[in-house]
Every structure is written in C-alpha cells, then in structure tokens.
C-alpha cells in the first residue's frame, strides 16, 4: 500500500470523524481533534529543533569564536525554563523582558511606520483630487473618501455612550450623537456582514475541497 493511499485513507477517516460533529460533541470528533493537536505540536517541535535550536544555538557552540557570543543567548534560553516553576520563575524575567522588548519595538515601529502613517496618508489622499488621474477617478475617489470618512466617524460615534437624564427621567444620549450612533450602527452591521460573508466563503470553499477529496477518493477507490 502506497503512502498516498494510506494517507488518503487516514484523511478520509479523519474527515468523517470531524464531520461527526454535526451530531454533536462526540468521542470521534474529540479523537480527531486530539490527534491533530498532537501531530501539529510534534511537527512544530521537530521543526523548531531542526530549524532553530540546532542550527542557531547548538551548532554555533562548536565554534569557539561564536561561543562567547552565544553564551548569553544560551543562558537566557535556559533561564526561560525557570518560568515553568513559580518558585524560580523570577530567573526568566530578564529573558522574558528581552523578548517582550524586542517584539514590542519591532511591532510598534512597524505599526507606526507601516500602518498608522500610511493609512492616515491614504485617507488624506482620498480627498486629493490632484492625485486622481481623471475626473471620474477623482469623483469616485472623493465618494469613497466621503463614505470612508463617514463610516469612520459614525462608527466611532456609535461607541460614545455618554448620556444625560432627560426631563422625563429617562437616560438618553444627545440627539446628534444618537443620530450618529444610529448611522454608525449601519456601518458596523455592514462590516459584520462582510466579515460573515468572507468567513462563510472560506468555510464553503474548505467544505467543497473536503467533499471533493472524499468523492474523488471513492471515485478512485471504486474506479470511476
């Protein structure tokens, strides 16, 4: 039996096991989930060992020139293991701080330089008629800009919950904010709808792929 056939069989079995969730939570589904988690974790561990620890930490230690440089990362690496024990978890605080600091720096820098500024610039450029190649482009650009601006403002206005007590004792927001919130509710609903559609299409595509796999398996198994 070839490996492909064996993998196909296991694939079919696991697919059906996952499909059993339609009947509710059951042991077959749980077994399939546990196997996937286990296999994924094992593969990840293997990849980390072979692609990270060995080539980047252990093999350089053989080189005396790199030993001095790699001692510090080696110590920090083992210090992170202390996080497993609450009593000595304080030992890995420095290594954790280095990781958090470096990650935060890269993330913040990229967020500011790669998202915040460019996005603001793009929002401003939407109202720049000079950048538009044609009048229609400018018009549609302006229209998209307005819609984008309104959506942003109205969505942010929806999350403004400050209110005051009216004469009749009821708690109400300002009428202007109430109008903005209602429009912002529409934008939020549209956004959620788009996201739901995207998720549905992704899931539908995945389901089609799985059904196709099963059908093709049986077709090949049957010989159709």
């Amino acid at each position: 039996m070839s490996l492909d056939l064996l993998s196909a069989i296991f694939g079919l079995i696991f697919t059906l096991m996952v499909f059993s969730y339609l009947l509710g939570d059951n042991p077959l589904f749980r077994v399939a989930v546990y196997i996937f988690v286990g296999v994924s974790s094992g593969y990840a561990a293997t990849v980390v060992w072979h692609y990270v620890l060995v080539p980047k930490l252990f093999e350089p230690l053989r080189d005396p020139n790199q030993l001095v440089i790699l001692v510090i990362p080696l110590i920090l690496c083992f210090s992170l293991l202390a996080k497993l024990t609450p009593r000595i978890s304080w030992i890995g605080n420095f290594a954790m701080a280095v990781l958090v600091g470096v990650g935060a720096a890269a993330a913040i820098g990229g967020a500011v330089l790669g998202t915040l500024i460019p996005q603001v610039q793009a929002a401003i450029d939407a109202f720049d008629f000079r950048a538009a190649p044609s009048a229609s482009d400018a018009f549609f650009g302006l229209l998209s800009g307005i819609v984008m601006l309104m959506g942003t403002v109205f969505t942010l206005g929806y999350f403004h919950f400050s209110a005051e007590r009216a004469a009749d004792g009821k708690i109400r927001r300002n009428r202007v904010f109430e109008l903005i919130a209602s429009i912002g509710r529409i934008f939020i609903a549209i956004t959620f709808g788009v996201l739901f559609a995207g998720v549905y299409m992704s899931a539908l595509t995945a389901m089609i792929e799985r059904l196709g796999f099963v059908i093709n398996f049986f077709r090949q198994f049957i010989g159709i």
Partner: protein, 817 residues
C-alpha cells in the same frame, strides 16, 4: 361534735341559771329590766329603720331553703314551734366542737324555732362554760372573707339540708333559749338572771327558753373589745335548766330564730331588749368566734349569722363596776361595727313563736344583703354602716345593745368548730380576725374589722369601680353569694386596670417610609426568581442543523461529483486582482520570488484553490525561482502540499515540472514573528542560512499567502518600514493571496498602495484564472459548487429571515390581542 349538716341539739339553758356567777346573774337581771322597758317603748313607737350597716351574714340567710336541719339547736330553740322538741341534756363535748356546731348552726338557715324554748338553757350552759374555760383565740384574716362566706354558706346549706333531731347534748344547750321563749310569753314573770350565758352553746341540756327575763341582763351587755378569755367551747358542762326569764328581757332572743311561722312571736318589748345587740359589733376589734351557743337556741336557717366579731362594749355606767375584767373588755366599744346588728335585728323582728316568717325572711334577706359591703338594692356601705343599717329589721335601736350583749357572748370561748371549720374553709379566715388585746384596748376610734369581714368587705378600688356598676349588676342567685350584688366587681375586659397599649410604630417621616418601601421592593426583587425564558423546543435546532447540513452536502456533492462547470465566471477583474496580474507580468524571467506561506492547515484547501491560478500563471509566464518561507512551524509542511496541489512540481505536461531545491526552495520556518521578519528583511541569509539571496531586495516579488490579516499586516508593516531606509525595496511588489475572510481586513493596505495586488477568495481566483487563461485549476473546479453553495446560502438566509419576520408579526398580533 356537731358536723356540718347536722341539726344542732336543742339545749335548755334555763337550768344553767344557777350555775352562773353572781355578778352575771346581776347583769342578767339588769338586762331583763332594761329589756322590758325597751320593749315597751318599742311597742309604742313605730319601727324605724336605721341605716345600719349591712348585715354581712344576710346572704347566708338568703341561701336558706326549706331546710331546717342546719339551724342550730340553740337558735332553733328560740322559735316557739320548736319548743316541743325535747331538750337534750347537756352533753359533755369538747368545747371547740360544740362551739363550732353552734356557730355552724348559727350561720345556717333559720330553722324552725319551735325548739327555742327548749334550748334556752343552752345559753346558760354556754355562759357557765365560758366562764370556766379559757377561750381560744378566734382569729380572722382579712383576706379570707370569701372563705368565711363559703364557710357560712356551707354551714347554712348543711344546716338547711338536715333536719335531724339534735343530739341530746345540743338540745340541752338550747334549753336556756327555751326558757327565754317561755319567759317572753309570760312577759311579766321575773326571771332569774341567766348565769350560764358564758357557756351557752355547749350546754347539753335543752331547757325551755326562759324568755326575755333570763336574758335581760344581756340587754345591758356591751361590746367586748378583746376578750379576756378567748371564746371557747365549753367542755360539755351540763347546762342546768335556766329559770324562766321575763319575756321582755329575752324578746330579742325570741327573734333570733324567727324565720318560719312556727317561730314564737316576739313581743315588741323583746325587740327593745335586742337593741343592745345592735351595738355588739361596733366595739369589738376583731371578730371572735362566736360562742358555742346551744343548737336549740339557734334560729332558723334564714336567720342571720352571728359571726364572731368584736362586740360593742357595755355601758360604763352600770356594767363596769360589777363586771369582771374579762367581761369589762367586752363592754368596751367594739372596734368594728356590730357585725350581727343586722342579724340580731332580725332576731328582734321575730318572736320566739316564729309568727313572723315574712319579717324573718325579710330580715334574712336584708342580712344576706348585708354581707360584706354589698346589698341587693343599695351600694355597699361600709362595713360598720352595713351592720348598723340592719336592713328592714325593726327595733334597730334596741339592737345595738342586744348586739353588744351578743358580742359579749360571742367573744367568749370560741369553739373549735368555729375556729377550725370542717368545711375546708381555711383557718386563715378565722385566724385573721384574731384580736390582740393590746390593739383592742389602744384603738377605739378606728374600727378593726375581723379578717373574714374585711375579706368580704370590698376593696376601695373595687368599690370605686364597681360602685358605678353595682347597680347595674344583677344579684347572684345561687352560690355562696346568693342575694348579693357586686361582690365580684364586674369589670369589663380591658378595663382601666389593664396597662395602656403603647404604640410600637416607628416614628418615621414620609420620605423615610418611601425609602424603606423602595428598599423593600429592591430586596423583594432580588429574592424573586426571574422567570426563565426558555425556548419551546431545543431538539428542533439540531434537526434544523442536520437538515441544512444534509441539504448543503447533497447539493455540493452533486455538483462536485458531476464535475459541473456550467456556471459562468465573470471576466471583470477587481482592481486589486488586476494589479496583481500586472505585477506578475512584470516579474523578470527566472527572478527569485519569495512566497510566504502563512496560513493554517484548516484553510489549506481554500488557499491552494485561491493561490493556484496566481502561482501557475507566474510559473508559466516567468519561471521564477520560488522561495517558500513560513512564519508558522506548520507552514513548511504546507509548502509541499501547495506545490503538489498547484501542480508546480508535477511532471510535465500535466504539471509545471518544478523541482525542489532547484526551482523552488523551502526555506522552512522563520521564528521571531515580526522581529524575525524584520531580521529576514534586513539580512535573509542571517535569518535563514538557506536563503538563496543575500539582500531582500533581490527578490523580484513577495507573495504572501495568508488566511488571517495579522500575518499579512506584519509583512506589510516591516516591508514598508524597510522601504523608507532602503529605496531598492520601493519597487519590489508585495502581493497578497488572502482567504475570503482575511481579504476585507487587508483591503486598506491595498487601498493605500502598500500592497500591489491582492487575490481574495475563490471568486477572485476564478476571475484571475479565467482572464489569464490559466489552465483549469482548482478554482474552476470549485466554482460551480461554490456558486451553488452561495446561492443556497442566500436562499436559506432569505427564507429564514422571512419566516422570522412572519412569526414575529404573528406573535405581536397575538400579544396585542
């Protein structure tokens, strides 16, 4: 010993006259003389009813029925009708018992006085006994009035219920009364003073009453404050026959037992002689047990009861000189009003023959009404006044003197039967009336009532409360309080004696109460269980889910199984898809292209279907060297699947014939997240030693395959930040192949031109494949099923929305109705 209910024996006290001491004989002689005078005066004068104090013993008389047996013999002997009864010889009995018997008989209902004559001798016997024997202190307690009444009532009942012939000794005791009776009839015959008055009740001999002659000395007897000798029952001394006394002197005795027609009539003169009896109770301090009178001398059961009491003192003029000390004390003014005034007045109203039953009954009624403090018609006057009123008894003026004499008699020896009643009445009632000699001699003005009298006397508080309602109260008809009214105060429930009800309501303002009510509502709401809104049926959800799933699977399976490709694909490419297509076309031939595989295995089928047309088109057009890199550990495993499913590594002509390590490289896992990406961008070979380029700018294009926006944003941000420092990266296109769920989130980067182009979802892939004439790949294979699936979803969502709308409207209509 006379028992309760037994008929006292009739005694003849006339025989006891010789036995009396000389001084007593003199006294008796004087009494007779005065009695004669008084009788003559009263006969001429109309009867004037004085406002005498109520006879406390009248009630006992009212309880008298037709029973004559309870009448003691000495009292019954007064009645002429009872004179025929044989007089009994004086019997030697214990003094207390005999005294008790006489007392009982005295307190009993008036009986037939036919034996009065025969029992007159009892008085003389009693006197003789009293002089010889020390009297027992007769004590009464104020609080035992009710007990005394009970005693009297019991005695009356017992006396009335029995009409037995008295034992011989009792008949002998009443012999002196018989003599008195006889003397009363003769009226003019002088009689020897009775000398046996001291031993009256216990004389066994029953002698015909000597009438008023023998007892005339009694008229001069005054109230005795404290007896020199306690009243004691004579110890069975034989009572000699008393000589007949003038009828006038003993007229008062004739009326003692007068309750029935058989009672001998009393001449008016006899009534005058009984005036001294009215004063008997007014001088005594404490009531003493009455002397043991001969049972024959006891009048009818309806006769008033002469309870032991302090008697009025004798007049100082005549008696103090000749009277002994023990009798002088009796002459002192009684500390209490004559108790037996009313009773004795009754005696005075009746002659010895008992010819005045009506009067007797009236007097008995009056006497019963004169019981402690209360009467039938009038409010209860003070005890002293009650005794003085005497009810309707005639010759009340003569009674005080008679009462005094009687008190003097009664203050002598107190028989045991009277001091220790057998009916269960507590001795306290009798002991409470113990008169201390010192008290009796010291205080004369304040009347010290015997305890049993005080007990019967209403308390002021009760009087004040009951006084108003006394008139409204009906007299008692039965029981020991028969004939009385207001003895037990009729206080309504919740009278003034009850404490006032205090309001326990909390003083709170309206605002506080409103706040308290609000707090109460809040607390009630917290404890109240909220009704759970449960759906009608939960199973229908699972059924609906199964139905929909089965429908979708069937439809999709059919489309897939049929390999249908009938659904058209739009050729209008979106802007971002067109840009991506342009970017691919601008890649140099054989240039390295970085392909970042950052999606999860769950959506591997979609990404393979979406990325397949792009990769196939790029490989077909530009034959680049593909470098596959992944920021997740599982990405490296997905690279092979991707290359396999996209037919990149498939052999030609079916595949594109790419070989690993030659045309495409699997760089593996890039650790560090954003930092690792930054590091790889800065120096690819530093981050990944197997990288085939030295600078990141050597990559002709960067294609990021992702199913989540985070991974794509990281690459976009890091590349864009690096482009500012490295201008060579500015011309490097960044293409995104995103899942349908991540595409909308990465659209801003496309709009901002940070991403050159993006293919999002299967529709874009299908359009791209259709436009670029890419060989039919996975996207086209999935397109029909994908379209049917979308159409089915749209139909189901629309139908479900309409159904929800319809049911909502129907529920609202039902709720409105």
């Amino acid at each position: 010993m006379l028992q309760i209910g037994e008929k006292p024996t009739k005694k003849n006290t006339g025989e006891l006259e010789p036995i009396l001491p000389e001084w007593l004989r003199d006294v008796r002689q004087q009494a007779r003389e005065s009695a004669e005078e008084n009788a003559a005066q009263e006969a001429a004068q109309p009867k004037v009813q004085k406002n005498e104090p109520p006879d406390l013993l009248a009630g006992l008389a009212s309880q008298a029925g037709a029973d004559d047996d309870a009448i003691p013999d000495w009292l019954a002997g007064i009645n002429p009708a009872t004179a025929a009864k044989p007089s009994e010889s004086p019997a030697r009995e214990p003094a207390p018992s005999m005294a008790q018997d006489d007392r009982l008989s005295l307190m009993g209902e008036p009986e037939d006085l036919s034996d009065v004559r025969e029992e007159k001798d009892e008085l003389s016997e009693w006197f003789s006994r009293a002089s010889e024997q020390p009297g027992e202190p007769f004590t009464f307690e104020p609080g035992e009035s009710q007990d005394d009444l009970d005693l009297m009532s019991n005695l009356d009942a017992s006396a009335a219920s029995l009409q037995q012939p008295a034992p011989p000794k009792e008949e002998e005791d009443l012999g002196w009364l018989h003599d008195l009776e006889a003397s009363a009839k003769r009226s003019a015959e002088p009689s020897a003073p009775r000398q046996d008055l001291g031993s009256m009740p216990d004389n066994a001999s029953s002698q015909p009453s000597s009438g008023g002659e023998d007892l005339s000395w009694l008229n001069n007897l005054g109230g005795i404050s404290e007896p020199s000798q306690p009243f004691d029952q004579p110890q069975g001394k034989p009572v000699p026959a008393q000589p007949a006394a003038p009828q006038e002197d003993l007229s008062w005795l004739d009326n003692l037992g007068r309750t029935e027609p058989s009672q001998p009539t009393q001449p008016p003169a006899a009534q005058e002689d009984l005036s001294w009896l009215d004063n008997l109770g007014g001088t005594s301090e404490l009531p003493q047990p009455e002397p043991a009178r001969p049972s024959s001398d006891v009048p009818d059961s309806s006769s008033p009861i002469l309870s032991p009491r302090r008697t009025a003192p004798l007049s100082e003029e005549a008696e103090n000189e000749s009277l002994p000390e023990w009798l002088k004390s009796a002459t002192e003014e009684p500390s209490m009003p004559p108790l037996g005034a009313g009773a004795l007045s009754w005696f005075a109203s009746h002659d010895l023959d008992g010819n005045q039953p009506a009067a007797t009954q009236e007097s008995s009624a009056s006497l019963s009404g004169e019981m402690p403090g209360l009467s039938e018609e009038t409010p209860s006057p003070p005890f002293g006044q009650a005794q003085e009123t005497g009810g309707s008894t005639p010759s009340s003026e003569s009674l005080p003197a008679s009462n005094q004499d009687v008190d003097a008699l009664f203050s002598m020896d107190v028989p045991d039967w009277l001091s220790n009643p057998e009916s269960g009445v507590s001795d306290v009632s009798l002991q409470g009336a113990e008169i201390s000699p010192a008290e009796a001699g010291a205080s004369l003005a304040p009347v010290e009532l015997p305890s049993w009298v005080q007990a019967m006397r209403p308390v002021e508080a009760f009087i004040s409360e009951a006084a108003a309602g006394t008139e409204d109260q009906a007299p008692e008809r039965e029981g020991p309080l028969a004939g009385l009214r207001g003895v037990i105060p009729l206080l309504p429930i919740g009278s003034s004696r009850r404490p006032k009800a205090l309001s326990l309501t909390l003083q709170a303002t309206d605002e506080q109460q409103a706040g308290a009510a609000l707090l109460e509502q809040i607390l009630a709401g917290e404890t109240a269980a909220r009704p759970l809104v449960t759906s009608s049926s939960v199973a229908s959800q699972n059924v609906l889910r199964w139905v929909l799933t089965g429908l979708v699977m069937v439809v999709l399976g059919a489309m897939i199984g049929l390999r249908s490709q009938s659904m058209p694909v739009s050729t209008a490419l979106p802007v971002e898809v067109s840009a991506a297509s342009n970017a691919i076309a601008n890649i140099p031939e054989g240039a390295p292209v970085l392909v970042v595989v950052d999606y999860e295995p769950a959506l591997a089928g979609e990404l393979e279907a979406v990325s397949g047309p792009l990769l196939d088109n790029m490989v077909l057009l530009r034959h680049p060297n593909l470098s596959f890199l992944s920021t997740s550990p599982n990405g490296s495993a997905l690279v092979e699947r991707l290359v396999s499913n996209t037919k990149i590594n498939g052999p030609a002509p079916e595949g594109l014939g790419y070989q690993p390590g030659v045309q495409y490289f699997n760089l593996g896992y890039l650790p560090g997240g954003s930092a690792g990406v930054l590091a790889f961008i800065q120096s690819p070979q530093t981050a990944i030693p197997a990288a085939d380029v030295e600078n990141f700018s050597q990559y002709a294009a960067v294609i990021v395959l992702t199913d989540h926006a985070e991974s794509g944003r990281v690459w976009v941000e890091q590349l864009d930040a690096r482009k500012q420092s490295d201008p060579a990266l500015a011309s490097q296109p960044l293409l995104m192949v995103a899942s349908a769920q991540a595409g909308p989130l990465l659209q801003p980067y496309v709009s901002s031109r940070q991403v050159a182009g993006m293919i999002s979802g299967l529709p874009d892939a299908a359009r791209y494949e259709s436009v670029n004439n890419v060989p039919p790949g996975i996207a086209r294979t999935y397109w029909d099923a994908f379209g049917i699936g979308l159409l089915l979803a749209i139909i189901l969502i629309t139908f479900g929305s309409l159904w929800s709308l319809f049911t909502g409207i129907r529920l609202r209509r039902a709720g409105a109705e």
